[in-house]
Amino acid sequence: MSFCRVNCSKGQLKIQEMAFALLAIIIFLVISGLFYFVFKASSLKEDVGEQRENEAREIARRIANTPEFSWSTSECSNCIDLDKLMALKDKESYKGFWNLEHLRIEVIYPVKNGECLKVNYPECSSITLVNKSIAPLSSAFVSLCRQEFKKQGYIKCELGKIYAGGKKVE
């Protein structure tokens, strides 16, 4: 097909052919570039998601030993201090501290129910410290200890689980 229906020289036809060929090349390059960027963006998203998951997993594994969580005295060096967590629960300053979207500590045994508040503590099951969104969660088993007092002070520990979720990739 030619656009030169009237008075077209051979040279003009060649130039037109070349222009079309160039246009085709450019369109091909743009489309392949677009494919490349879409592929790259999705693999980048995957990488970021994976990194955030790794970070959340590491945090879940290690958080019991951080100063905000750990039972500081030597009786139980790897336990979580529930009394400290209750003090930490409503602290706005700690909301962005762990780079997490979700951070929750749950008592598994003995079985209890409900979110811990000052009125029902310690007869409750979970303390949610960060709850921005429900992201994929990593978890780890922990010992949850608190001070009790009957005539004299003693430590009561229960079995618990810690759930941590990194930021979701949009």
Binding site: G11, K14, I15, M18, L22, I25, G33, L44, D47, Q51, N54, E55, E58, I59, R62, N65, T66, P67, E68, S70, S72, T73, S77, N78, D81, D83, K84, M86, A87, L88, K91, S93, Y94, G96, F97, W98, N99, Q147, E148, F149, Q152, G153
Partner: protein, 314 residues
């Protein structure tokens, strides 16, 4: 006219110009793409460094050393900021120097709970990491000291407790020697008096460290954590990290004060909450390392009182 002669027609001119433009654009985009790829890789590395430093920390108050090895020669940039409730630790990475010229570092990874004591930039394929816990009087954080494997330190006349610690930790590239026997290119850390050849001077009586013509202060009964910080970090980073540590100490003091009040309700009164609040205010208004001595005195008082309690707070 010779018909066999080369005819430079419009078609040829057009093809050369358009071909040139296409070639130029291809080269421009591919070099940009390469830069972006490098930046993405450096940004990922910075984040990964933060993640792999997690196991080095939190080691139940024990010191730990580890080695980070990169696939290529790498520069790690350590930036510390004091803004916000906890300040910020920024780590950014630049790798693969092409033709001896380093690229711009990738986007920084920000951490609020890390405290890295190092020079502003650490260059090398291997970095040594030492971790120590910082307690004032309760554990506040694990401090990380990072220096390149290529950098050698020579400790001259250190006190016996430092000497024993270095031997116990088997720290690479730290030798204990006299100034004459130190390697020429090593950083000389002098513990007894000022020498002209000393790069870092530790004044044990004044509890100060002089480095790059700047003096910073430490307290050595804090597990020597700050002393090592002052030796391995640039004075600016040291001051910033100590300020961040004080901010976290302030927040933790409030947590312990709340815990103290909650225990009082249960019948286990500690009466430490007022002192902890005062301590929180003092650590929050901490300006520079000169004030560490007065903070340490307050901390010692709280530690002493806590040890006497039947329901210990920490």
């Amino acid at each position: 006219m010779n018909k066999k002669a080369f005819e430079f027609t419009f078609g040829w001119m057009f093809a050369i110009i358009v071909g040139g433009v296409i070639l130029f654009l291809a080269l421009y985009f591919s070099s940009n793409l390469l830069k972006t790829e490098n930046k993405i890789s450096d940004t990922k590395t910075a984040k990964e460094i933060g993640i792999i430093l997690n196991p080095v920390e939190n080691s139940l108050g024990e010191e730990r050393t580890t080695l980070i090895t990169y696939p290529v020669e790498t520069r790690v940039y350590n930036k510390c900021r004091t803004l916000g409730n906890f300040g910020q630790q920024e780590i950014s990475v630049a790798s693969s120097a092409r033709g001896g010229k380093w690229e711009e570092p990738g986007n920084p990874s920000i951490f609020y709970n890390k405290y890295i004591f190092s020079e502003d930039m650490i260059e090398g394929r291997e970095n040594i990491v030492l971790s120590k816990s910082f307690e004032i009087p309760f554990k506040t954080a694990d401090l990380l000291y990072i220096w390149p494997d290529s950098e050698k330190y020579c400790f001259i006349d250190p006190p016996s407790y430092i000497e024993k610690e270095i031997e116990r930790l088997e720290l690479r590239n730290i030798n204990i020697s006299s100034i004459e026997k130190c390697e020429k290119k090593s950083r000389k850390v002098c513990f007894s008096g000022v020498g002209t050849k000393c790069s870092i001077v530790v004044n044990l009586r004044e509890k100060s460290v002089k480095k790059n013509e700047k003096k910073v202060f430490y307290e050595d009964d804090l597990n020597n954590a700050l002393l090592y910080g002052a030796i391995f970090a640039s004075p600016e980073i040291y001051e910033c990290q100590v300020k961040r540590l004080m901010k976290r100490t302030s927040e933790l003091s409030i947590v312990y004060a709340d815990k103290s009040r909650a225990l009082s309700v249960k019948g286990c009164s500690s009466n430490l909450d007022f002192e902890l609040i005062a301590y929180s205010n003092a650590t929050l208004s901490f300006a520079n390392s000169k004030e560490i001595e007065s903070i340490n005195k307050m901390s010692e008082e709280i530690r002493r009182k806590n040890e006497l309690l039947s329901c210990k707070l920490f």
